[in-house]
């Protein structure tokens, strides 16, 4: 019997002006996992929330059929919805740090779930909380129950959130991007827990934009775009043999799902960048603890590590934005670190940054023409030539001239990143530092920007320092890779070698933790190796 049956569900916001979900149909079964896949804004969350009656006060939900736990939920009032929530359907959302009340101990949060449906008497609640925490794999449950969310690690918090969601024994769990905020290794463990729950008979509705996660858990997949479910079917079939054009596009855009750029011979010549023994400390903490590397013209070096590993600090040292406490940086064979800004200014144009968040990286008051124009002016392009050069640059990054007068706020994320790249290219640099250049973008846009970067590299022969926490992306664009942990480079070498046979345990754990796409990605990769 289905736990939830939905047919022709529509969700509208803002008095009908926004049609978030159109004619969606789906069913959830015990022990099965349905994954809703789509990019942000596709209506996944609105659909899932409407199953809980939580689409929001401004939402209007209509449906041909909406059966929850065997009841017709279309005419549910607040009281009826309350009886369903938690008891029949539980919700696990994205980031436990904010999804659990930060002002209350997690034990209290779980107890609240228990007592909301009187599943246990108040006196027995404590025992049940401990039991639940044990079940989701939280060590020292008695002590943890008294702690607050911020005192727990990312993985433990997410487990605690799951414990609070399953406390009243719901048959269905809605997991809305349950692992997005987590580091790779932790992500794997949380997925394992969800899988275990599924095996025990819970029906799962998994919402994710990450196809790797979907593949790890889902039995069936529904692909959403602009509020419409465009394709649905068994997970294996949809992922291996997509029929709808959008599904194909989505799958093709996934990094790692695409062929590696074939490179010619490794670049040669004098190193453009020479980093020796760089150490950088902040208030007693060592962010970078002695890093050496070189970068030659035309070469792309990947810098990999989890957040806090020192990647960004190293990038700032390379960019000349931070002064190393020890060690030196040579740019084009001449001292770059430890010289006064005045001496650096003339050479600054040789090294440019492609930022993580383009919105904060451009002056919000300036139109595109002025943003790029400033970069041209800084390298001494005469005023008369700037307009023409700006148009050429925009064309090069795939933008049209009609955007010239737009301000950053009026651009899409992808367009903004292209503008930032155009600005970086304006002074004709020899070295680009890309700091997580696509992590703020949607998957399909990611692919386009990565393509652009790769093309530019080839056309202009740029050296690139490419920083990312996303191994798939690094693998796709880089020649060499360095793995950083706690400020130290633990492993480095050609991308193929490192990914195929990681030596350092940390690199291994990073690679193992990535929920790789078993059927489409892994095999060709193995083939090549």
């Amino acid at each position: 019997m289905s736990l939830v049956e939905v047919a022709d569900l529509n969700v509208r916001f803002a008095a009908g002006r926004v049609h978030a979900v159109r004619d969606a149909s789906l069913r959830l079964e015990p022990g099965r996992c349905l994954a809703l896949v789509g990019e942000s804004g596709s209506g996944k969350s609105a659909l899932a929330r409407s199953l809980l009656g939580l689409a929001g006060p401004t939402a209007t939900v209509t449906a041909g059929e909406l059966r929850v736990a065997g009841q017709d939920a279309r005419d549910f009032g607040p009281r009826e919805w309350r009886r369903v929530r938690g008891r029949h359907i539980g919700l696990v959302s994205q980031d436990a740090l904010v999804a659990l009340d930060p002002l209350r101990p997690i034990g209290a949060e779980i107890t609240e779930s228990l007592l909301a449906h009187r599943t246990v008497p108040r006196s027995g609640a404590r025992e049940r909380v401990v039991g639940l925490l044990t079940r989701v794999g939280v060590p020292d449950p008695e002590e943890r129950a008294r702690q607050y969310v911020h005192q727990l690690s990312g993985g433990l918090r997410q487990r605690a959130l799951i414990a609070s969601a399953i406390a009243a024994g719901p048959g269905i769990l809605i997991a809305d991007e349950p692992t997005t905020a987590l580091d790779a290794a932790v992500q794997a463990r949380v997925l394992a827990l969800l899988d275990e729950l599924k095996q025990q008979g819970t029906g799962l509705l998994l919402i994710s934009h990450d196809l790797a996660v979907v593949e790890a858990l889902a039995d069936e997949v529904a692909v959403m775009r602009h509020g419409v479910i465009v394709e649905t079917g068994p997970a294996g079939r949809v992922l291996d043999d997509p029929r709808h054009a959008y599904t194909k596009e989505l799958l093709a855009a996934v990094p790692g799902g695409r062929p590696r750029a074939s490179r010619g011979r490794p670049p040669e010549g004098e190193p453009l960048l020479d980093v020796t023994g760089v150490v950088k400390r902040f208030a007693g903490r060592t962010a970078v603890a002695g890093v050496d590397f070189t970068l030659r013209p035309g070469e792309t070096l990947g810098l990999v590590g989890e957040s806090g590993s020192g990647k960004t600090t190293l990038a700032r040292v390379v960019l000349g934005m931070a002064r190393p406490d020890e060690g030196s940086v040579l740019l084009g064979g001449e001292p770059w670190s430890g010289v006064p800004e005045r001496a650096r200014r003339a050479r600054r144009h040789t090294i440019q940054l492609v930022p993580q968040d383009p919105l904060s990286a451009v002056d919000p008051r300036w139109p595109v023409s002025r943003i790029v124009g400033e970069a041209l002016a800084a390298t001494g392009v005469p005023r008369a030539e700037r307009a023409a050069r700006t148009e050429v640059l925009l064309e090069r990054v795939g933008l049209t001239a009609d955007l010239l007068d737009r301000r950053p706020a009026a651009l899409s994320g992808g367009q903004r990143q292209r503008v930032a790249i155009a600005r970086a290219l304006a002074p004709e640099p020899r070295l680009l530092v890309c700091d997580e250049p696509v992590s703020a973008l949607d998957v399909s846009v990611q692919a386009q920007v990565l393509d652009l970067l790769r093309r530019l590299q080839e056309e202009l022969g740029l050296a690139t320092l490419f920083i990312s926490h996303d191994l798939a992306v690094v693998r796709e664009v880089c020649d060499r890779v360095m793995v950083m942990k706690d400020g130290v480079v633990v492993e480095s070498g050609p991308v193929e070698d490192v990914f195929a046979g990681p030596v350092h345990p940390y690199t291994k754990s990073l690679l193992d933790a990535v929920p790789r796409r078993a059927r489409t990605a892994r095999e060709p990769a193995q083939e090549r190796l």
């Binding site: 960019l319 934005m321 144009h349 440019q352 940054l353 930022p355 904060s360 990286a361 706020a409």
Partner: protein, 268 residues
């Protein structure tokens, strides 16, 4: 609904500005003309808001008072802003030690209630319109300075400033082109919201006898004068106060509107 409020507020402010610039358009009489034979007349067609203890026309005084009350508030806000911009930018751009010193001074001043700080300033300048204006300005400056500094730090560490430095744009030019305007924008909005408070505080100082002096038809000063005659002429206290309240409401509504708009513009 919301627009009705904003439009009403804007219309009222416009009227106030007219009253401040060309008071004689609205009330032709002399606001300080006394008439010993016409004291304490209740509101009627000849004296719309009645007359006060010296036989002066309250309506004329209220209209002419707009100039003084608005001027004190506006000048104080601008003055406070100027002090704060210099102070905050110096702190944000002058390295750790300078920053610490300047901000500790701001902390120390913020430890005093704004009104007390204003009173201290009045001690130096002596009372009067200029003194009160300066007092209000200095009263709001430390708080503003912190906002300026915080905003300047945000801007200074922002991607676009780093990008400009990365392009080799000289530092003074970076400050002029990026730091200053991006610090100032949000501040202007804050200033609009603060204007209401400044008008109110200026009037409070006048009420306490430290701002505009009789016979100046400033609203706060008019309230002080009329407080002794409440049982004889409630109108002499009601109308100046009412105008003050309406003005502050109108300014606040307009300020909030500006705030919402600018947040909308910068955020999305």
């Amino acid at each position: 609904m919301r627009h009705v409020g904003v439009v009403t507020a804007a219309a009222f402010l416009l009227l106030l500005v007219v009253a401040a610039l060309f008071p004689r358009l609205l009330a032709a009489g002399d606001p300080t003309a006394t008439d010993p034979l016409a004291t304490f007349l209740p509101p009627d067609s000849a004296h719309l808001f009645g007359t006060d203890q010296l036989g002066r026309d309250v309506f004329t005084r209220v209209v002419h008072g707009a100039r003084h009350s608005l001027a004190i508030g506006a000048a104080a806000t601008v003055g406070g802003l100027l002090i704060a911009v210099v102070w905050g930018l110096l702190a944000a751009l002058s390295g750790r030690f300078g920053d610490a010193v300047l901000m500790r001074v701001a902390d120390a001043l913020l430890a005093l209630p704004g009104l007390l700080l204003a009173l201290l300033v009045v001690l130096i300048t002596g009372k009067g319109v200029v003194g009160a204006t300066l007092a209000v300005a200095v009263g709001i400056a430390p708080g503003f300075a912190r906002v300026v500094r915080a905003q300047a730090l945000v801007v200074r560490r922002s991607g676009y400033v780093e990008a400009a430095i990365g392009l080799g744009v000289p530092r003074p030019l970076v400050v002029l082109r990026h730091v200053l305007p991006n610090t100032f924008g949000p501040l202007l909005v804050l200033a609009t919201v603060t204007l209401g408070v400044s008008i109110s505080t200026g009037a409070a100082l006048s009420y306490l006898g430290l701002g505009a002096q009789p016979p100046t038809p400033e609203w706060g000063a008019m309230l002080t004068e009329s407080q002794g005659f409440l049982h004889l002429a409630w109108w002499a206290a009601l109308f100046p106060g009412l105008m003050l309240v309406l003005t502050v409401i109108a300014v606040t509504v307009a300020g909030r509107h500006a705030q919402n708009r600018s947040e909308g513009r910068y955020a999305s």
